[in-house]
């Protein structure tokens, strides 16, 4: 068989492959063109009978032809296979707009979210977070904080006392944690204490016998009201955005000078004014003396605010009771 004959065989096979329209067509072509009875197989089988000088060139041609045909078969197979799979997939029917599989996610309480933000603000400044007992001694909650005997806050109309022990109470502020921290740690000290506090208020939209405070305390050499103002300004901007801050003088037994911390605020009616958000001041020397710090060596500032109040202001929650009811319609809004 001459070289042109081989070429013709090869061309005919490739043409048949190209014209196969389905995988089963292609299978038939494969048998016709490369099966044992095919002309190409016959040719290859007959090579041994050729005169020796023809065996080389003809064999080479024939092998090339076989490889080309097999490659064409494989390529055509891939093409037809992909087309048939595509047609099968395209035939599928489903509504992709159906709800996806449910993975219900719960919510951290709004108070937790705000507390963590506050903590992160102060952690970034280098403060530590401390906590202490909620069932407290009268001394830690009042006496050490320079609250005189007979002060209205010390009366049973304002403070929860324990049955049978008038020296024990539910802390009315997180400030006793300051006292405990100062007793346990020498200065310098930079801490915040978030936690639950208790006051004997009836439950209504703005009062709760249990609520949450964050208290901050910084004691070091050379601290002044200017550091207090800088710290509060930083905190307010981080938590409530760009706002004006002002310090209005006030009175607390355990700080002196004492200030009310107010931020500029626009209410939902568009009226602007000042909103009290915290109490603060320079730690009263009597407090340092109560815990064994030397008020001539160190100064300090303290501030405290209601987490509940910050959360309500920031998120527009109208009623404090919502925070304590456990109503999922409320909780899930802050997921």
């Amino acid at each position: 068989m001459s070289e042109p004959d081989i070429q013709a065989l090869r061309d005919a096979a490739l043409a048949a492959i190209a014209s196969a329209a389905t995988l089963s067509d292609l299978d038939r072509v494969r048998v016709e063109r490369t099966g044992k009875k095919s002309a190409l197989s016959g040719l290859l089988a007959g090579i041994g009978k050729l005169p020796p000088e023809q065996r080389g060139p003809v064999g080479k041609r024939a092998n090339e032809a076989r490889k080309a045909v097999e490659a064409a078969l494989a390529a055509r197979n891939d093409t037809l296979d992909a087309a048939e799979m595509g047609a099968r997939l395209a035939d599928d029917r489903t509504d992709v707009t159906l709800p996806g599989d449910p993975f219900p996610v719960g919510a951290l309480h709004l108070l937790t979210q705000v507390r963590r933000e506050v903590e992160d603000v102060f952690l970034a400044l280098g403060y530590q977070i401390v906590d202490g007992p909620e069932v407290e001694t009268d001394w830690h909650n009042f006496t050490a904080l320079n609250t005189p005997e007979g002060h209205p806050a010390r009366s049973s109309s304002d403070t929860f006392f324990l049955d049978g022990n008038p020296e024990r109470l539910l802390r009315t502020q997180t400030s006793p944690v300051q006292i405990r921290t100062m007793q346990a740690t020498p200065p310098p000290l930079y801490v915040i204490c978030p936690g639950a506090v208790y006051r004997r208020d009836d439950v209504d939209a703005t009062h709760s016998p249990m609520f949450h405070q964050v208290e901050g305390l910084a004691v070091d050499e050379g601290l002044s009201m200017a550091h207090l103002k800088g710290t509060l300004t930083y905190m307010v901007r981080e938590l409530l955005g760009e706002r004006e801050l002002r310090l209005a003088p006030h009175f607390f037994p355990f700080t002196e000078p004492s200030v009310d911390v107010q931020v500029s605020w626009t209410d939902k009616h568009g009226r602007t004014g000042w909103l009290e958000i915290a109490g603060a001041g320079m730690v009263d020397p009597n407090v340092f003396e109560a815990v064994g710090y030397d008020p001539e060596k160190v100064t300090g500032f303290a501030f405290g605010f209601g987490l509940d109040r910050i959360a309500m202001i920031r998120h527009g929650v109208p009623d404090l009771r919502l925070l304590f009811e456990g109503d999922l319609r409320f909780l899930e809004q802050f997921a």
Binding site: P152, Y190, K229, P249, L328, E332
Partner: protein
């Protein structure tokens, strides 16, 4: 405290608009809670329409029995004709008149009107129409010496602005108009007029000793007691201007004597009391402790039981006044009174507060005494009140004053170092400036180069005793506007402690698992222990109990986290949420010998309600113990831990379907999981089923790994997996099978998983079919077939030996 600005301006007038004045007060430490506008509007020249008039004549209205037709001189060429319905109008009276165009509070502008055929061009005013008081019985009759046509607002505060102040407990001196005048003076620099404390002319007969004697038997509770007698007191209304001021300050005008005592209290901060001398039993005043069983009927008609902790002012027989709080009916000033005993005294603050609280009776007077008043103040108030009684009422002051106790206290000088002032405030203040501020506040300043020596005025003696107090005074008057903003340079880095970090991680994981966080009241009803079916001797019935709870529902501190979650679940079920997942992280409170409490922290989660088919495809998960155990496993994994469920017997869980969650090698339970007992659910009003998880955070922290975990190479080597199908007695517990397989497979069996468990028709009665998957590997090398089959055989042998298990 209500501060009428008209009254304030008698002593200090900074010439500021109300807003600016309020701002100046706020910036210097007085909280202005509200601004009340009383009386007629001052806008648009309205005040010009209110004039003084003299009634020239009064005639009966021809067509109306109740109306009179008055001719009123308003300083104009002709009198005006005004129709008036008041019964008390009479010729010759000086009255207030609103002219046409005037706007009265809550009304349209007045117009010239024709009333039953008679023209009326104006209105003769009553006190109530001007919001000066409640008196609507007739028109307001003014003093005769006022000129007709003059502006009414010139003599009467018909347009008044009142600031509502919130005062702090350290400033009783501000519970006085004059005290606030001093604050305004200090804050604004406007000049402060002196208080007129001149004594009146003495005209009464005899001396005071002829009228009454005074004995103070309890000087500890009454450091000073002053008394005077006035005779020929004509009881009647006080002048309109005084009534207007008293009402604007929030008290009620009563009669001239009572009004003057209240007026002087409002002005000076010193409460006064007037007794009808003729109604006292005997000419003696005794200041003593009440006796047990004694009582007094106070002015409000209530019988008050007294005891020896209380101080009373008695006549010869009985208590006439509960000291500093309220007088008794018996000796009250009445229409018939002609002779007065006037008291100005200092009573002990804490005693006054305790007595007022015990009697449930707080008055303007007690609110001042309870904050401790200086002994100098009674003399000041006594002088002013005496003078007003003489000058305004024509009473005769009997010569002499009974005065027992200290007439002056001492104020120790306090040092103010200039350097200290600057260091605390964080900005420089010159010595001249601090001196100026303190002197404006009435402090005596001995100026120095390095420091001032300061003496406080007696009103501030209790409040300003230390350098820190002086720094506060200078700071607050100077204001904090100009203060720079600095951040402290803190050495070291803030980070959460392990418990804090764990608490936060657990919360996040719980939320990821579908739980929403609640915050519930930590005080709970004591009956919660019964609702949780705690045994009578259960130690968790020992609770921290409040002495003064708001209610029985908030009586004790919680010992368990579950009631709060169950109540929240009930709340949700009552509001169209039949099912859900809730959690709380918080403390419980166990009483301790020292009166404080152990306050361990817990995580508690509750899955409540039936699982409705809430999704078109998802199968409903079953709310049961196995769900709870699975959730618990996912939760403790946040701490890098694993727990194994063991049998448990808590009263509030289903007796069988509950587990204690234990960590390997740790005796204290990490937590508990279980289906909540149906009777507990019923007690809390929750529709079941419900399953709960409680984790003891302290215990979890003990087992949480702290060291960084080392990598184990089970990645680069093949891992062999072998499944065992076993038949065991139904009573054999899964956790025991797993533990045995683990133990026997050491070290090659790295993981054992129970992936199938079947009890039913396909297996013999009383047995269970269990499938375990063993994962075998040795880090760093490939196991041989012999090693693998040897390891599996050891596990099977142990399971057979210890649990009677055999391969199917």
């Amino acid at each position: 405290m209500r501060l009428p600005l008209e009254w304030l301006r008698e002593y200090v007038d900074p010439g500021l608009a109300t807003d600016a004045l309020a701002e100046a007060l706020i910036q210097s430490g007085t909280i202005v809670e509200d601004v009340h506008e009383l009386g007629v509007s001052a806008a648009n020249g309205n005040l010009d329409n209110f004039r003084i008039g003299r009634v020239v004549s009064v005639e009966q209205h021809p067509n109306a029995d109740r109306l009179r037709v008055c001719q009123v001189d308003l300083g104009e060429p002709q009198p005006r004709q005004i129709v008036c319905g008041a019964p008390n109008v009479a010729a010759g009276q000086t009255v207030g008149v609103a002219l046409p165009g005037a706007v009265l509070p809550g009304n349209e502008p007045l117009e010239t009107a024709t009333l039953r055929g008679v023209e009326s061009s104006g209105m003769i005013l009553s006190a109530r129409e001007l919001e000066l008081g409640d008196d609507h019985s007739g028109i307001m009759v003014l003093a005769d010496d006022l000129a007709p046509g003059a502006s009414l607002s010139g003599v009467l505060a018909i347009s008044e602005t009142v600031l509502e102040l919130e005062l702090t407990s350290n400033r009783p001196d501000c519970m006085a108009i004059y005290g606030m005048a001093r604050e305004v003076h200090a804050a604004t620099g406007a000049p402060l007029a002196d208080l007129d404390v001149s004594e009146p002319h003495v005209a009464g007969a005899g001396t005071i000793a002829d009228y009454v004697s005074l004995t103070v038997e309890a000087p500890d509770l009454c450091p000073r007691y002053m008394a005077r007698v006035l005779t020929d007191v004509p009881i009647g209304p006080s002048p309109a201007w005084m009534q207007a001021r008293i009402e604007a300050a929030g008290m009620r005008a009563i009669n001239n004597v009572v009004d003057i005592t209240n007026y002087v209290m409002l002005l000076t901060g010193q409460p006064l009391h007037a007794f009808d001398l003729d109604r006292m039993a005997g000419p003696a005043v005794v200041v003593r402790r009440a006796t047990q069983g004694e009582s007094a009927t106070t002015l409000d008609g209530q019988v008050r039981a007294l005891d020896p902790s209380m101080l009373v002012i008695c006549d010869a027989e009985r208590p006439a006044v509960i000291a500093g709080i309220m007088g008794a009916e018996d000796v009250e000033v009445s229409e018939a009174t002609t002779r007065l005993l006037l008291e100005a005294a200092t009573f002990d603050g804490p005693t006054t507060l305790r007595t007022a609280l015990a009697l449930g009776l707080r008055s303007e007077s007690s609110a001042r005494f309870e904050k401790r008043l200086p002994v100098e103040l009674p003399a000041r108030a006594m002088a002013i009140a005496s003078r007003l009684l003489v000058e305004l009422c024509g009473a005769k002051l009997v010569p002499g004053t009974l005065d027992v106790g200290a007439s002056a206290g001492t104020s120790a000088p306090v040092r103010l170092r200039h350097a200290r002032l600057d260091a605390v405030l964080g900005m420089p203040t010159t010595p001249q400036r601090s001196q100026e501020i303190l002197e404006r506040l009435d402090f005596r300043v001995a100026a120095g180069v390095d420091e001032h020596m300061i003496e406080a005025p007696f009103e501030r003696r209790n409040d300003v005793t230390r350098e820190a107090d002086l720094i506060e005074e200078v700071g607050r008057i100077q204001g904090f506007e100009a203060l720079p903003e600095l951040l402290p340079a803190i050495v070291g880095q803030g980070r959460r402690t392990p418990p804090q970090a764990l608490r936060d991680r657990l919360g996040c994981r719980a939320a990821d698992l579908g739980f929403s966080e609640v915050v519930t009241y930590r005080f709970v009803p004591e009956a919660d222990a019964d609702r949780l079916m705690m045994a009578a001797d259960d130690p968790r019935r020992q609770v921290v109990r409040l002495a003064n709870p708001l209610s029985d529902e908030m009586a004790v501190m919680r010992r368990s986290m579950l009631p709060g979650l169950l109540r929240a679940a009930a709340h949700n079920q009552a509001h169209q949420r039949p099912s859900g997942r809730l959690f709380e992280i918080g403390r419980t409170y166990a009483p301790r010998g020292d009166g404080l409490a152990d306050e361990p922290e817990f995580f508690a989660g509750l899955v409540f309600g039936p699982s409705p088919k809430a999704h078109w495809r998802a199968p409903a998960a079953t709310t049961d113990i196995h769900l709870a155990v699975g959730l618990a496993g996912a939760l403790v994994a946040t701490a890098g831990c694993a727990v194994t469920p063991h049998g448990n017997s808590a009263p509030y869980f289903h007796p069988v379907r509950q587990a204690r969650l234990m960590a390997d090698g740790h005796e204290r339970p990490i937590g508990w999981a279980g289906e909540v007992h149906p009777l507990v659910l019923r007690a809390f009003g929750v529709s079941g089923p419900a399953a709960a998880i409680v984790l003891d955070l302290g215990s979890l922290l003990e087992v949480a790994p702290t060291a960084p975990r080392a990598f184990v190479d089970i990645i680069s080597v093949p891992v062999a997996t072998r499944d065992l199908a076993l038949v065991v007695d139904e009573a054999v517990r899964a956790a025991d099978l797993i533990a045995t397989a683990h133990g026997a497979g050491v070290p090659l069996v790295r993981h054992v998983e129970l992936f199938d468990h079947y009890v039913g028709e396909q297996v013999e009665m009383g047995t269970a079919s269990v499938a375990l998957r063993l994962v075998l590997a040795d880090p760093g090398r490939t196991l041989t077939d012999e090693e693998i089959s040897g390891g599996v055989a050891a596990v099977v042998a142990a399971l057979t030996e210890q649990h009677g298990a055999h391969l199917r």
